[in-house]
């Protein structure tokens, strides 16, 4: 039996009268690339914030990396990585200082940070850029660096919040190669995206509409289920039923 790293039952989050996330349940398996889709305002950011330990659910239960989402938020934070569409780097810090910072706030020892820094720079081929400001790097490099930094503490799950926003297709493709490599090492990848071609790369996809999960299957399963040629069509059929305004 495959091991689940994320298990969510009946998760609900309300802000006053507004129900952002409405009674959702799902599992994510270890090493899976899980696509979390939904139009703006469908509630995916809210749901993801709860999974990352940033926010508490109004009701519902679940575990992330083996820790309870209601009580184990601090422990969850130690076992997950997070990267947002802003590439998660400080432009006024150098490449090395960025690595040091995130190593430091995740509690790595100085020696570990040094070793990891060298390994990371070597792997990314950025040895000669280590003292450049992160803000001066080309977009594709920033993104690769941010991704590597999000993995610095060896998390079991990495959350990617629209990681490829505003990036050209070629860079996006190479970024997905990194995602595949990471998933192969057993790290679970939880990714939100606007690009439907990216949804095709996921092992499994869920589509949120009006705070609920409207569909969840492999891309191939969804396409045949909705008689659609590609994920874009699938998404339009499902998200077209939305009643909530953005």
């Amino acid at each position: 039996m495959e091991e689940n790293v994320i298990t969510i039952w009946n998760l609900t989050k309300k802000f006053g009268n507004f129900t952002a996330v409405d009674n959702i349940s799902f599992d994510v398996r270890k090493g899976e690339i899980f696509g979390f889709l939904g139009a703006n305002g469908a509630g995916k950011t809210t749901a993801m914030r709860i999974l990352c330990g940033l926010s508490r659910p109004t009701s519902g239960e679940g575990t992330v990396a083996g820790y309870d989402i209601n009580t184990g938020q601090e422990k969850i934070k130690r076992h997950i990585g997070y990267m947002s569409q802003k590439f998660s780097l400080y432009p006024d810090l150098t490449v090395r200082e960025n690595i040091r910072l995130f190593g430091g706030i995740y509690g790595l020892k100085d020696r570990e940070i040094r070793v990891k820094t060298d390994a990371m720079l070597g792997m990314l081929g950025m040895q000669s850029e280590k003292d450049k400001f992160a803000g001066d790097l080309p977009l594709g490099w920033k993104q690769k660096l941010a991704f590597s930094i999000a993995l610095i503490h060896g998390p079991e799950i990495i959350f990617l919040d629209e990681p490829t926003g505003g990036v050209d297709p070629e860079t996006r493709r190479r970024f997905w190669e990194m995602i595949y490599d990471t998933a192969e090492k057993g790290v679970t990848v939880f990714v939100t995206t606007h690009y439907m071609d990216e949804a095709e790369y996921c092992d499994r996809v869920s589509v949120m509409v009006d705070g609920k999960i409207a569909a969840m299957d492999s891309p191939a399963g969804l396409k045949s289920g909705y008689h659609a040629r590609n994920m874009d069509e699938v998404f339009r059929i499902i998200a077209g039923r939305a009643e909530r305004e953005e």
Partner: protein, 370 residues
């Protein structure tokens, strides 16, 4: 703790890399002290006095000499009619005019009563008032001297001897050094803290710090560290400047003064955090700091307008401004040389405010995260 250190190092890097901000933060107190010290002085120096009267009258001559010898006043010329004073004011050749009545000397000697009119340029009321009182003082002391010498012991005339304690030279720097100190510390701590937190909110990097295992409270505290350091540097530079350039002494305990500054800085940092919670962009944060903090502080903390002369309702408003209490403490400790016992009331109020602000701001910051 290591996590905290890593995030504090980052904050220091941010502000030291930002040359412009650090320059403004370091230079601002110096500029303000010098500006207030030399340009915005409310002291009267070398007021130019014109006079109108009969120069053949020995009493008039004596009085005019006496005015000229006063180190704050100098005679610039004689006018024929009192109405000519206006012309001089318009051409900016004189600040005030003294017009002696006809038969000034003989009236003074015969009856002890005579008249002299002081005309001032009221377009600058503060200066006019001060010049007028200087002039009145000089003239009346001359009249008294004459009265005594003429009438012998018969007439008892009384001139009050005014002694200004703590500030014998009436230097306005004694008032503005504490004021500028309050203003600068508040600006540095609350404005810069608010802007730095909101900036991370804008760029989305705050999320990144929050998903890390570092507790939100420690993230906030680490963001405050550089500003705490910066305000310590500013505190020192203001004290040094005021001591060596403005010659304002530190009569009381430096330790007590520093402690009061620390309490005030904590309250300002908390205010900054509170502003960062309610504002969503750096621009909003700046606006709130400018309109909501700096202006009321300038107006209500007693830097420019004394709180005692405000209407009751505005005095209540001034009571909720932390800077007012800090400035009172600084005046008491720095200028009057008072000890703990005399500032305990103000210090407790300030500490209470700091504690309250800190509690409220941390609470709202945490709620905002949910």
């Amino acid at each position: 703790m290591k996590e905290f250190a890593a995030s504090a190092v980052k904050e220091f890097r941010h502000i030291f890399r930002d040359r412009r901000t650090i320059l403004i933060a370091m230079v601002m107190p110096v500029v303000q002290i010098i500006l207030f010290g030399f340009a915005v002085s409310t002291e009267v120096n070398d007021a130019r006095i014109a006079f109108c009267g009969d120069m053949s009258d020995p009493e008039v001559r004596k009085t005019v000499d006496r005015i000229d010898q006063n180190k704050y006043l100098s005679i610039v010329g004689r006018i024929d009619r009192p109405s000519d004073a206006e012309d001089l004011f318009r051409k900016n050749r004189a600040d005030a005019a003294v017009c002696f009545a006809q038969d000034y000397g003989s009236d003074l000697i015969s009856s002890g009563r005579t008249g002299a009119e002081i005309i001032c340029d009221g377009s600058d009321p503060n200066t006019a008032r001060m010049i007028a009182s200087y002039l009145a003082g000089v003239i009346s002391s001359e009249q008294t001297d004459i009265g005594i010498s003429m009438a012998g012991e018969k007439k008892i005339s009384m001139t009050p001897v005014v002694q200004l304690m703590y500030n014998p030279a009436m230097k306005s720097s004694y008032n503005f050094v504490p004021g500028v100190m309050g203003l600068i510390l508040m600006l540095i701590c609350s404005m810069m803290t608010a802007v730095s937190i909101v900036r991370e909110k804008e760029t989305g990097t705050l999320e990144l710090l929050l998903v890390s295992p570092v507790r939100p409270l420690w993230i906030v505290i680490s963001k405050m560290m550089p500003y705490l350091a910066l305000s310590a540097v500013n505190f020192a530079s203001i004290l040094l400047l005021s001591h060596y350039v403005m010659e304002v002494p530190v009569n009381g305990s430096l330790l007590l003064l520093s402690f009061a500054a620390l309490v005030f800085v904590v309250s300002s940092l908390a205010l900054g955090l509170l502003i960062s919670v309610i504002s969503s962009s750096q621009r909003t944060a700046l606006l709130i700091c400018g309109m909501g903090l700096t202006m009321p502080t300038m107006i209500f903390s007693g830097i420019i307008f004394p709180c005692e002369s405000m209407p009751q309702i505005l005095q209540w408003v001034s009571d909720i401004i932390p800077a007012k209490w800090f400035i009172i403490i600084v005046k008491k400790v720095m200028i009057q040389g008072d000890g703990m016992a005399s500032v305990i009331k103000e210090l407790s109020i300030l500490a209470g405010m700091a504690a309250l602000l800190l509690a409220v701001s941390i609470r709202s910051f945490k709620t905002r995260l949910q």
